[in-house]
């Protein structure tokens, strides 16, 4: 979009690494607070980031989360190597979940991950290929 990039960082996420789950989102939240982004935007970005990060941890083998801030927008791109999503329409439906019993015991599987991302972003694209992986593009306007 020709906008000057103020911050750009990539984070590696390892599937099933529950010990560090959420740590990327917490780091991103700190950065946003440090650069004095408005609180409601900080929460929206953090929520999107957390849901994307947890999806990668729960389902993917490995993922890369790229976070960029420019003057007008925050962009989270996450690309994983994993099983992919069989039915995107269902995955976007609130309450639908493919979480395992193990994930549910950890407090996941509400079927709100992707809907929460959609509801908190200004632009959300998802591209998934079975047995290959999933790519998410999440944009949140800062103003």
């Amino acid at each position: 979009m020709g906008q000057e990039i103020l911050y750009n960082k990539s984070f590696n996420i390892i599937g099933k690494d529950f010990a560090n789950a959420g740590s990327v989102s917490v780091k991103i939240k700190k950065i946003l607070k440090e650069i004095k982004i408005k609180p409601d935007i900080v929460y929206r970005v953090s929520i999107c980031c957390y849901e994307a990060e947890m999806n990668a941890i729960m389902y993917a083998k490995i993922a890369e989360l790229n976070f960029t801030i420019s003057a007008n927008e925050a962009v989270i791109k996450i690309e994983d190597e994993g099983p992919g999503i069989e039915n995107l329409e269902l995955a976007m439906k609130e309450g639908y979940s493919t979480a395992t019993q193990e994930m549910r015991e950890m407090g996941f599987g509400a079927g709100l991950g992707l809907p929460n991302i959609k509801n908190n972003s200004d632009e959300f694209k998802i591209d998934s290929e079975l047995l290959v992986g999933t790519k998410l593009y999440i944009k949140i306007n800062l103003n």
């Binding site: 529950f18 010990a19 789950a21 959420g22 740590s23 989102s25 917490v26 939240k29 609180p39 929460y43 953090s46 929520i47 957390y50 849901e51 947890m54 950890m106 407090g107 996941f108 599987g109 509400a110 079927g111 709100l112 991950g113 809907p115 929460n116 509801n119």
Partner: protein, 127 residues
């Protein structure tokens, strides 16, 4: 209401620093599902949950929760307690069940979010 009053009301055990109990609590939220917190919980609420793992601590950080109460006598691991101390997050446990803990706090005036009073239409059905 200060958190220390909640400690008395629910007969909680405090697992973190006493000073943190001076925090003022205006709103509460109860769930065992992390995405529920992200979807519906008011920022800065007190979370009452039966889920005892470190994900709760991460969620608390994302949503700036003012504290966590583990209900139904569930006790977090030392690792979770240490992490909450590190993050200055009050961590309480109560023997009361989730439903009872919520109900008791409700009677003391705590709410999940603002309740908008409907105008009285004369039918006697206003809330």
């Amino acid at each position: 209401m200060e958190l220390r009053e909640i400690v008395n009301i629910l007969e909680c055990q405090n697992h973190t620093c006493q000073e943190l109990l001076l925090r003022d609590i205006q709103y509460c939220y109860a769930t065992d599902m992390m995405s529920d917190v992200l979807k519906s919980c008011k920022i800065g609420s007190l979370l009452i949950t039966g889920l005892v793992n470190q994900q709760v601590i991460q969620i608390a950080e994302i949503m700036d929760l003012k504290g966590i109460i583990f209900a139904s006598g569930k006790v977090p691991s030392q690792e979770v307690i240490d992490k909450s101390k590190e993050k200055n997050l009050p961590l309480l446990t109560t023997e009361k069940q989730l439903f009872d803990a919520c109900g008791i706090l409700y009677t003391f005036g705590l709410r999940g979010k603002e309740i908008i009073q409907k105008a009285d239409d004369g039918s006697g059905n206003s809330i």
